[in-house]
Symmetry: C2
Subunit: 451 residues, 2 copies
């Protein structure tokens, strides 16, 4: 028969079993952490009607969207989890209780140009808190705590949650009479880290025709360091000059003031006035999270406050705040940087049982006992040589091999080999299970990410 | 602004938060049970190149497939998890260790005619064991044990795992000289439960031109009850007359013989010679699982042994055995039949904390303590009346509400209300946590499915 060469589409992550185990571990930690903060899991279709998904229309993502006909239907694959959330909340408004806190970990699709480390199918891991009409600023203050807990649970220590407030930016540019150009200015200012202040000044003056005075004002403003102790900016000179700016500064003060309450250490937090995020969506606090030793990766967890989640679907005012982790890309980068802890178990099983007698019942009985103790057990019943079976455990890094021969069965004992140390014991089943459990506990110490 | 009416495509399941929690619980149980048997989780793309996914070509599913162009690429959404597994194993053959045991829980897509209880996007939950060249019959014997454990873990008791062997059928029809018509005969015989033996006889004779003698033979053969004690069929008369039939009977004997070893109770198992499953794929043991009180649902977990998983991609002989649960449909049916246990918690949080003072730090500190104890805690900081906050906990069925007023903070105590009983305690934080934990443990008793 002629064969079709098997392949996986470029831009689509497909992991081997061992890294997949690491990915599963990360997803489990995210689910658990998000749950501890009272977010409920949600799962929405990957396909939506194009008219619904693209109600907002336009935008640079539009040509990246996987859109197609099926029968009469014009369908699209979701490109993020926010638009489906907006649809969900508008559609099920009467069945939901607000504030509505949900998390969702799911695949989204963007037909980007194929590129190393860029994915066309990738997981996003989002949380959002949606209010009905109003939503307290304290939710914005809680978000850094959730980011902190999430990354700490994964094992990261050297990361910084950077916060800004869009009202500060919008108020500041309004004050300078530059509201019209605010978008272009923010895009330019966003490059500060990469190109330096003088090039930013050049672009502002030459390309955006900003006056030298205003360019200077902008540069000194965004360079300002927020004093976390004084709860203020050295920019207190700006207070009282623009209402929106004042409001933004006050919100920022509130977020910062509660940081310690929420348990976010000083070293994992910074106010950064260069952060703007999306231009027409966020309206209050905005967040970015960077790995201190890998600034080149950019933000691994971003989001912010928005005033109107579902304006394309409903008249209801639904303000919210949310963050998103680009999980597939994060996983890829962590792997590339060698930050995934290789010592955590990735085997498909904890114990490989080698029955050495015709009668399988003692082996199966022991496998059952192991499983009842939460130990993952696999029977190896293939017609292979002993050496091959041991090599199977070895290759898969299964930590324990158990032998049940006639002697063991007669004596009611179990021979168990620690595949790492080579140490072999012959103990009764209970003692063997105790030993295996202790060993697995030790092996499961340590975090997924190891800096 | 003109609004786009939000809607979810028909045939796409989108659950409200409470049922979603039940669905998550089921998926968690499946993941854990499959893992205990040494299956490793896998995740493959939802989109594949059409030429790869449809290498096998044709079939009745082809027009159901979501197939589309993106740029130059001809793409299709996966319609099951088996073809992607075949591709995966062929593609990564050199990196895998055999027997390769994997589970996968993922969405698949079929553009079926919209119909109540039929889904176009649905979860399948599959396990497969793939051998390299050979695979022991004992894997086929283990599968009923895994099905039994899985459904038991979900809480089902009244179900039956029905088993047959394709070699028995193929051998039997070869013996009668009916190999050519075997497919049509099996399709007819499959209707036995629905239309009864006399109508089956009619179709066999009139439409398939089977002689009355052969029709009689077929009907008496498939009606035969396997004697689980004697490890035999009353059909021992057929032994020794066709090699394939003999081999099938012997394999069936082996599977049955190990049932008790593998811990499958007699009442959850039956040999059923009418089961054939797919016509050109399975080659040995085949499985179906039916709910005794809901035979109309059909099989909720099916599968079987196949000799060549990836013949469209590779020359390697890769025999395997696997089963699949149509999870979305199963969930839908369980809900319809009222079999989902409503007493298990579905709230987004275990505890709602109502801070009653300006200073939030005591409330946040207690939330942190709860979370460190694995208790899901949400702070309610909205500017709402006390009554509204209590009603929030009530509506979401959050089991405990915690009040932290000035008195409590001064005394170092916590007021905690059990939202079910109304009972209110004022205890120190540790005692409160102890009480909440005990209460949650009690609430989490019981299984997802309650017959």
């Amino acid at each position: 028969m002629p064969k079709q060469t098997p392949r996986t589409l470029s831009g689509f992550m497909e992991l081997l079993p061992a890294p997949q185990q690491q990915m599963e571990r990360i997803q489990k930690i995210l689910r658990e952490t998000y749950s501890l903060y009272g977010f409920t899991p949600l799962d929405t279709p990957a396909i939506e009607a194009s008219e619904v998904l693209l109600a907002k229309g336009g935008g640079e993502t539009e040509k990246q969207i996987y859109r197609f006909q099926k029968g009469d239907a014009d369908l699209s694959l979701r490109f993020d989890l926010t638009v489906p959330l907006a649809k969900y909340v508008a559609l099920h408004y009467n069945d939901l209780t607000f504030p509505f806190r949900r998390y969702q970990i799911g695949k989204v699709y963007r037909g980007e140009r194929a590129q190393r480390g860029r994915f066309r199918e990738f997981y996003q891991a989002d949380i959002d808190i949606i209010g009905d009409g109003k939503l307290s600023i304290l939710n914005e203050a809680e978000i850094p705590a959730i980011i902190y807990k999430t990354f700490s649970a994964l094992g990261l220590k050297r990361f910084c949650i950077r916060v800004n407030n869009r009202k500060i930016l919008n108020g500041f540019y309004a004050m300078l009479g530059l509201s019209q150009q605010a978008g272009d200015i923010m895009r330019t200012v966003d490059k500060l880290d990469k190109i330096g202040p003088e090039k930013v000044r050049g672009i502002l003056q030459d390309e955006l025709s900003i006056s030298p005075e205003n360019a200077g004002e902008i540069l000194s403003f965004i360079a300002a360091k927020y004093d976390l102790d004084a709860l203020d900016l050295p920019l207190s000179q700006y207070r009282g000059r623009n209402e929106l700016l004042d409001q933004g500064l006050q919100e920022l003060d509130t977020v910062v003031k509660h940081l310690a309450d929420f348990g976010v250490p000083r070293e994992n937090f910074a106010v950064d006035l260069t952060i703007a995020r999306g231009l027409d969506y966020y309206t209050g606090t905005v967040y970015e999270t960077t790995l201190l030793d890998h600034p080149e990766i950019g933000s691994v967890c971003s989001g912010g406050r928005y005033d109107n989640l579902a304006e394309y679907y409903t008249d209801k005012q639904l303000p919210g705040v949310g963050i998103s982790i680009g999980l597939t890309r994060l996983f890829y980068v962590l792997g590339e940087q060698g930050l995934l802890n290789p010592d955590l178990p990735t085997a498909p099983a904890d114990v490989l049982i080698l029955p050495m007698t015709e009668d399988l019942s003692p082996a199966i009985a022991f496998a059952t006992e192991l499983r009842e103790n939460g130990i993952r057990a696999q029977l190896h019943c293939e017609a292979k040589k002993f050496k091959q079976k041991i090599s199977y455990a070895d290759k898969l890094k299964i930590p324990y091999a158990v032998f049940l021969g006639e002697d063991e069965i007669k004596e009611g004992l179990v021979t168990c080999k620690d595949m790492t140390t080579g140490e072999q014991t012959k103990l009764d089943p209970k003692a063997t299970i105790y030993r295996i459990k202790a060993g697995l506990d030790a092996r499961n110490q340590g975090s997924v990410i190891r800096e």
